[in-house]
Symmetry: C4
Subunit: 323 residues, 4 copies
């Protein structure tokens, strides 16, 4: 039994690449970070693109730690090779015991890997010289790699958007929708960063279970928006779906949203002014993120000089309305 | 009280992400460099994207100075570490007093950081060798970073457009608008650089205060343009809004523009032929930048051989017209 | 004699850049990796873009091997120069025979090329010092090149799509096509990688020979799709051409597809979420890849916790249907 | 006096950013390499973007020569500083005369700049050590710059298109234009490189002088094309403007094209499959490049195995037709 009005076919499932997933155990389809909450079996284990992706998207503490660990391990590896195969090849060492001897070899290795090559410690003999040549090559290639990764980390355009914690159903009146809609579904976004987002577009995809002769089928439907594109995200933007007579949410209550395992998948598309590139951002609201009969608080304030500002900390604030 | 004709709803505020900012103390909403003149409270203090952005967009003198300062400070920092913890570790020093000794350590530090490692000065002992290994690593990573930043500085497409200082209201006649418009609002742009801008698009957003039952509300409206896209910005381009009967500027005088705190926000979009990338440029004219009854001077000239040229220095020149 | 219904002119040959190729000996026009199977005569022999392209697209084993080979050959080249022209210029060598002497020169060369310059071996005299200066410059430029190539390899967006091995003709019923189509041509794709593909678009181009008064002419025609764009390729996507009354495949059998040397060229366009860039992918199905009266197996499974997953290994699986 | 039919206003001058240039002395407006043939006065003298542009677009011989010159000059500059201010600071020198002394200093400078630092030559004393530190920093920054430039040179997408030398007027018959056009203006292009160009679009802009009451005014008009977009440039593409009754070329002869100083500006837009980026290419045909009553030769051939190929050397070949 479907609680929903007849869906126009053009808004139906196939357009979203989720096929007819039935997710009736209540899992999200889209995680709040915008990734798909779906298991993939049979994927190739080793995948350089994935490795690159995690190296450019991990946080800076982990990245720097990784560089240090990698450098130490590589040093240790070469030091062990010298120690095992050609300890006599390294000249100029000063040591009094075996540990100090290994450490001298380790420092020689570091001086080769970084190509600093002071020369107090130096290689002699075929094996040691050859190993040192290879180590210097690997060192240089490693730093070439690090250069690429550092640039990749900086130059990758990512929109850091802040979303209001909830998606709310508010009383609503708008000249264009006056007779048709008296309530609207809305959430708010703002740019977490100072860089400018322009040509910002939003889409809300309403996803729910439909009972088709006892079998649950997952449905997807785009919700009409009051405004789906703004040219400049300088402040906050409230994305509004007017619940008019054509809205699939027309008569739905909180209980019904829960019953059909509602999920609102939102996607934002914009141009980042720093990198001058298209950026994409997705998130999702589950039925228990919906608040009925509420109104967002204004984030605007005016400072002493009369200049307008916005307070990002108030983005999720709403006021409950007694009807 | 509104001086303006009824605004078509589709051109109303929501599309521009400025919400209903009321800026009645006369501040610009958009700075002439295209950034938003709005205070942001609650932003994260530390933001790598912002740091990257300032590093790639600061001028070259400051960038080079920063590199030198950074190099010196890092050198000094490591020199201090050696001096404090392991001054005996550095061998081969030549000095007669404590200052010279510190300077020798400083130069050893520089030779490690740049990985030049001549070898007259060299590390000995655990602590000193370990510190030197770390310094060489940090040096290499620092130069990897500098490589990325240098590339980022060069490869970032930015349109350097020159705008005429004023936006003027001229007598106007155009076959397409003949019966409807006898005046037009116009400004001129040209490319400051020799690189070619193609597929250039312009938009003028007219922003003003409307008195809504005693409360000032900020309104935004796109102005129709005679031509909103050109395929090649080889010369100058005069962007023209014909003040026809549908124009919100129909009967506005300079005094009225001032009274409603008018601001014209202009945005230009183009493809940069050197980087083959989309570039965006914004600026703004305030009511006191408007000149009535004027006409732009031609920037064209023909040289001795009959070849056509433009004179960029004449871009803002206009001639007052006695009506 | 043409087996096909009259082709609408707007879908005819010129739009695809293949002109009127007649490929009646049964070669593919488009290889399965998306490149054109066409000989090009008169191309410039040496082409840097092609070299760059192969360097960034070859697999990692070959790339690393190439780096090692290049490094060895360059070392050997400079070692030979020193050995021939200025063997006395290199000081600090330790050797007992001519081979060891050459190897010492080789290691000196390696130490110069990598700029490690320990200093046990060092140049003396004009020619040797000058050669060493040039070698160090070439070494640095080589590593600059390697840095660029490594970054190019990582940052090049490529969609690795998996295509079903066959393109099948299935029984079909869809509300939108109910009365018109009872069969459909379909193939399936999925993303081989974990990165996300968004705004995915598909096109099938049907190519065949037409007998025009005894002369075979190659024809090209776009097939209408049930859905030609999805917003998110999270699972698999079955691209479906309903064989309705307007379809050029209306009454074609396997034998007829073979006779007119059919080829289905498919092209996929998407946005890669890791690089935030447009990616393009093409492939092709020849008439002998077509399977009639079959149905794709579902790739969906549900794990113990009720979470949905897809099994990539089942992508090409189909079930034959007895009609 | 105008020889041309009335121009539809929507195709008129403003869209092309050339304003009302009158170029009656017969100069091209657009050079064949796609740059504008227009003098720019008042441009800033020094412009980093222009310098970057020439560094990434100059040919490889010049680029490599520039690197060598730059390296030599920088070496010489530092060598002179050491020689003048602190010749005693460099230790380990071996020389018998003043020239050899300077050369030893020069090699020390090279060893510092490349950070190879063998150590036979080493700095001693404040000034020399400080200078050497600065030189090593500058060396590293220089190679950082070179890395960026090398990457910039490789990663800059450029379409190398071959254009037929002439633009020809051929007899023409096409089902879509049958009754309206019996001649067509056409030129041919092909990709000079092996990389693939997809989604290729063409535009022909017809530019000519109109006599407006004795004053020559430059007019611009887009010509309708039989096909303006192909999805894949695998072979050659003949871009065809059917000279139908709406064509401004309807009754024009070679003499008239000359009289009105005709120029056909062509622009091609495509996606480069190697870099997955939009590329733009422009060229121009002047009236004396037009050939009447000719037909392009086919570039197609079939090899022994029956495989189709194209011969790039035949691109400009045409056959004169006796009417």
């Amino acid at each position: 039994m479907s609680l929903l009005p007849k869906i126009k076919r053009k808004n139906d499932a196939p357009e979203f690449g989720f096929g007819n997933v039935t997710n009736n155990s209540g899992f999200r389809i889209l995680n709040t970070d915008g990734s798909a909450n779906i298991i993939r079996k049979g994927e190739p284990k080793f995948n350089l693109i994935n490795i690159y992706h995690s190296l450019v998207s991990m946080n800076w503490w982990r990245f720097n730690l990784l560089i240090i660990v990698f450098y130490s391990v590589l040093n240790l590896f070469f030091a062990s090779l010298y120690y095992i195969f050609t300890p006599e090849g390294i000249r100029g060492m000063e040591y009094t015991n075996e540990f100090e001897r290994f450490m001298e070899i380790f420092y020689f290795s570091a001086q080769s890997l970084t190509t600093v090559g002071y020369g107090r410690l130096y290689p002699s003999g075929h094996l040691c010289s050859a190993l040192a040549s290879i180590e210097a090559l690997i060192g240089l290639m490693g730093f070439a790699l690090a250069t690429g990764l550092l640039y990749g980390r900086f130059s990758r355009p990512t929109a850091k958007l802040l979303y209001s914690k909830n998606i709310i159903v508010s009383p609503y009146s708008h000249p264009r929708f006056l007779e048709k809609a008296d309530r609207a579904l809305m959430f708010r976004i703002t740019n977490e960063r100072t860089n400018q987002l322009i040509e910002v577009e939003a889409q809300i995809l309403f996803s729910y279970n439909e009972d088709l002769n006892g079998k649950l089928v997952r449905r997807f439907q785009i919700l009409n928006l009051e405004t789906s594109k703004i040219s400049f995200l300088a402040m906050t933007w409230t994305i509004v779906h007017p619940i008019d007579e054509n809205s699939p949410l027309r008569n739905l209550t909180y209980e019904e949203l829960s019953k059909i395992d509602t999920e609102f998948m939102v996607s934002i598309k914009a141009i980042d002014d720093t990198y001058v590139q298209q950026v994409y951002n997705r998130s999702s609201y589950k039925w228990n993120d919906v608040v009925f009969d509420a109104k967002f608080e204004s984030t605007l304030f005016t400072d002493a000089s009369g200049k307008t500002g916005i307070d990002l900390t108030k983005l999720s604030n709403y006021i409950q309305i007694n009807q």
